[in-house]
Symmetry: C2
Subunit: 189 residues, 2 copies
């Protein structure tokens, strides 16, 4: 278990504040107070507020990109690939509740890294859609609108960070299984 550096601690606390009020509404004084120090002291560890946001968002976005690559390279059926994607989201969201909020809500406040983030997101969605389309072609999935399926699954998965903290009694495995049932098999008899 690696010891958390002061810089990492600042980023972790910042992500928590960003989740509660959003990047723009959190001031460096808010962050300093939460750390128990003065605002000026933050700059001994980080370069700027913007740098904190970059670190939070890009690290998670790259984690998703890596996870999607593993799913694609696998020889799984389409439905099993979708289940792997559900598990990927449950895992990342569980481990990074606060960061997921910034990824979802504050990506537009990225500056130098905005285009890089958008390219990662665009590719992720392209790959996701392609899995669904293959499932329809191979008759593994119903002939549904693939974009609506992706939209529905992805918004649910991207919002897990809101919901996981309210349901601490569900472990990651149970949550992923329940989500698979609901998202893939539907809810009617």
């Amino acid at each position: 278990m690696k010891q958390e550096t002061r810089k990492e601690e600042i980023i972790r606390v910042a992500a928590k504040l960003f989740k509660e009020k959003g990047y723009s509404a959190v001031t460096m004084r808010d962050l300093a107070t939460a750390m128990g120090i003065k605002a000026a002291s933050l700059y001994n560890h980080i370069n700027s507020k913007q740098d904190i946001l970059n670190t939070i968002i890009i690290s998670i976005a790259e984690e998703f990109t890596q996870g999607m690559k593993l799913v694609q390279d696998s020889k799984l059926s389409c439905i099993d690939k979708l289940k792997q994607i559900v598990a990927l989201h449950v895992k990342i969201a569980s481990e990074n509740i606060y960061g997921m909020a910034s990824l979802n809500n504050d990506w537009m406040h990225l500056e130098t890294q905005l285009n890089y983030y958008l390219s990662l997101r665009g590719n992720y969605e392209k790959d996701f859609l392609s899995i669904i389309q293959q499932g329809i072609e191979s008759s593994e999935l119903k002939n549904v609108n693939p974009e609506i399926v992706m939209f529905s699954m992805l918004t649910t998965l991207r919002s897990l960070y809101i919901w996981i903290p309210k349901k601490e009694e569900l472990n990651a495995n149970d949550l992923a299984n329940n989500l698979n049932n609901v998202l893939i098999h539907g809810i009617n008899i």
Copy 2:
């Protein structure tokens, strides 16, 4: 067709800017520029930035509350009630793309109206959950986790404002039908 007042125009333009950058990141100067006037002139029509947010969010939240009441008072089956809720979200989101963004992302910046908003939202979710639970009891729905079903449906529906503008070729009816299929009947064969 009632003529739009200057105040309504300001609120409409503000909602559009709030959607793009969030409430906190939009300045009164941004809003004034978008209106083609100076910031000070805004205050001839509105009391404060906060008042704009109140108006945007509370009006939509009350619209949802009203719609849910109609669904509850109906004698429809559980699945038909869920379909009515889907249609309600599609309708409100279609008519108020920008306002839905504030409702979803900037409710925490409400001040005097925060508790009122939270009570409306809490009651809405309570009613939604109750419909799902009744469907399970009456065997109209599978024995799924009702909270996961509500979470999945509600996050998808609440995010429609992101997605509708990208799919202008789908009218509200087609979208609602497609969503019903995906959300209720699932996607696998």
